[in-house]
């Protein structure tokens, strides 16, 4: 059988569970049974109910077989996710098979038995609502209802194969004792089902991290590894497909203004639409100003802008903007600006990502600024933070939005932040804001460190901040070592010598390559051409 034929052999059904179908590469295999194993509180029951709820919304009726919680409890608990199970039952779209233990029923076992009655009930329910989907929650609870485990084991096999025989797609949940250990408690559950998925809820550095992993999909493909997910009210399970998102990213050559003409020039004509820029600097270097200008630049062109502020209050932000000559209130009144201010700690990073995505979908901004990523860094683990940034950048690019994130460096002079080392590869452009100490004065310097797919000014320019915002000045010609945080002053004569040597080198290179056009090695000359050095 060829590769293609093998994949075609197993058809998949889209579950309708947000983003799950992406990591499952299409959904769950049709007419198969899938085991969902997880520790207590990992979201198994929610996933199982959501599988049915999403199916019903797509027009496929379902049957829920419960061995653990009573049907009444499940109806009640699932209301908070916006799923009205009782209504669907009344409409004939959902049927419960309540096999939860009844404390009032006392029974003894005498001799061999089978679960024929259960199977008959499930088949009857499937027939009654013409179900396409069945959820069984949970297999482990069946074992606890009977003393003869070997019978239960063989009967569950029989039920699983019966489910396949009647042509439904089923999910079966099972408990496990550890997030990393045996697949399920009784050691047989994974053999009952065709496919195995694991939900985890791991405590990492005092914060909970939920992940979903598809272990095996017999005969078909799926994304490997753990993917973070979150459970939100009115939505249930939301999977965050990291790498899967980036596949469909577009790239555009359209330039947009950063809100500062000089900065646009330094970037080779402005920022790219659907690019993400990181502005890094110590506290007070002008990050929030860069953000404010960016928003101003957007609203001036009639674009909708979203500001996610995690450091300053709304009042502070508006006052700052007024101080630099920008009127946030007018922008907001015009419907071009939305400011979301919140404490970073109010929810986990996965929840933040979902909230931000929902806000973006609703407001449909052309520009998104986040001030600052560093404030969110401590909300979760380093891994969760990286996933958050990947999730956010890929989402922004996918929606063709221009993003501007800020990050705060720990030291005043030079150095880099944890944020940068984590995400510098994920962003398209990096702008550094640095303090430069010169003869007892603190001056501010700005440089475009990286600009993907474009020429950019390589000089470190001095800038000042006044009522009109950011004023770009001359490059620091007589100082070296600004980025390393140890600026050293050099005499103008040394600078001249160094420059002429660089020019000679590039001339030689040009002659050797026989090309009139300077390549990237001729950057020094190129730079002079575009920005003639302003002499002291």
């Amino acid at each position: 059988m060829t590769e293609a034929a093998k994949y075609l052999a197993v058809e998949k059904i889209a579950t309708g569970i947000s983003s799950f179908d992406i990591i499952a590469k299409g959904g769950l295999p049709r007419n198969r049974t899938t085991l969902i194993s997880g520790t207590a509180g990992s979201g198994k029951t929610i996933f199982a109910v959501q599988f049915l709820a999403a199916g019903i919304e797509l027009g496929f009726p379902g049957v829920f077989v419960t061995f653990e919680e009573s049907a009444a409890d499940i109806r009640k608990n699932m209301r908070s996710f916006g799923w009205d199970l009782a209504k669907w039952e009344a409409e004939g779209l959902l049927a419960f098979v309540d096999a939860s233990p009844d404390p009032e029923i006392d029974s003894v076992e005498s001799g061999g038995f089978d679960l024929g009655a259960l199977l008959a009930r499930v088949k009857h329910a499937v027939k009654k609502v013409k179900a396409e989907r069945v959820a069984v929650d949970s297999l482990g609870a069946v074992f606890s209802q009977f003393s003869d485990q070997s019978i239960v084991r063989s009967e569950l096999f029989r039920i699983a194969s019966a489910l396949k025989a009647i042509g439904v797609t089923a999910v079966l949940t099972a408990e496990r004792t550890d997030d990393y250990g045996h697949i399920a408690r009784f050691g047989v559950e994974e053999f009952i089902a065709d496919n195995v998925m694991i939900l985890r809820n791991v405590l990492e550095d005092e914060s909970r991290r939920r992940t979903i992993e598809i272990l095996t999909f017999r005969g078909c493909d799926h994304q490997k590894g753990e993917y973070p997910f979150t459970i939100v009210p009115d939505g249930g399970v939301i999977v965050i497909p990291l790498s899967a998102m980036q596949l469909s990213m577009k790239s555009s050559n359209v330039r947009i203004s950063s809100g500062n003409q000089k900065l646009d020039e330094m970037c080779g004509g402005g920022l790219f639409r659907d690019s993400v820029t990181l502005v890094s600097g110590a506290t007070g270097t002008g990050k929030t100003l860069t953000v404010t200008q960016f928003l101003q630049g957007g609203t001036a062109d009639g674009e909708r802008c979203l500001l996610l502020a995690f450091e300053e209050s709304r009042d502070q932000l508006f006052r700052n903007a007024t101080g630099w000559g920008f009127d946030f209130e007018a922008m907001e009144a015009a419907g071009l600006l939305r400011v979301v201010c919140d404490y970073p700690d109010v929810s986990g990073l996965e929840d933040w990502l979902v909230t931000i995505q929902a806000t973006i979908r609703e407001f449909k901004p052309q520009r998104v600024a986040l001030d600052s990523l560093s404030a969110l860094e401590h909300v979760g683990t380093a891994k969760a933070f990286r996933e958050f940034v990947i999730g956010l950048t890929s989402f922004i690019k996918h929606e063709e939005i221009t993003g501007l994130f800020t990050s705060t460096t720990a030291s005043l002079m030079g150095g880099d932040s944890i944020t940068e080392t984590h995400i510098s590869t994920l962003t398209d452009s990096i702008i550094l804001l640095r303090y430069v100490e010169m003869f007892g004065d603190m001056k501010r310097g700005l440089t475009v460190l990286k600009m993907r797919g474009s020429w950019h000014d390589k000089a470190i320019r001095e800038f000042t901040i006044d009522k009109g915002g950011m004023k770009m000045g001359r490059p620091f010609r007589n100082v070296t070592g600004i980025l390393s945080g140890a600026p050293v002053h050099v005499s103008p004569g040394d600078v001249e010598r160094a420059w002429s040597r660089l020019e000679k080198d590039s001339e030689i290179l040009r002659r050797e390559s026989g090309s009139a056009e300077a390549g990237s090695d001729g950057a020094a000359t190129e730079r002079r051409r575009v920005f003639p050095p302003e002499s002291e």
Binding site: A99, F113, G116, R121
Partner: protein, 99 residues
Amino acid sequence: MLRLFVTGASPRTSSAIANLKQICEQELEGRYDLEIIDVLENPEMAESERILATPTLIKSLPLPLRRVIGDLSDKEKVLLGLEVHPKQLNSVNQGGAPS
């Protein structure tokens, strides 16, 4: 008042019926009313009684309500489960037979 839930005409069904009839005749001497229900034909009845396993024997009267699961091959367990004491059905148990 006894009800026996079975699945179709399997060997387990017939042995459960045979075992039950034997116990009833020996111990209850006609003071019983037996109904046999096939879950394949009456799944709704199994649903309302919340029955999982077959065969399941339900004693609804006299109270308390008791259930015995299995082919009823262990007579002692059946009688214990039904809280029916051999040959002493209507007499008060004075601690003679183990309960």
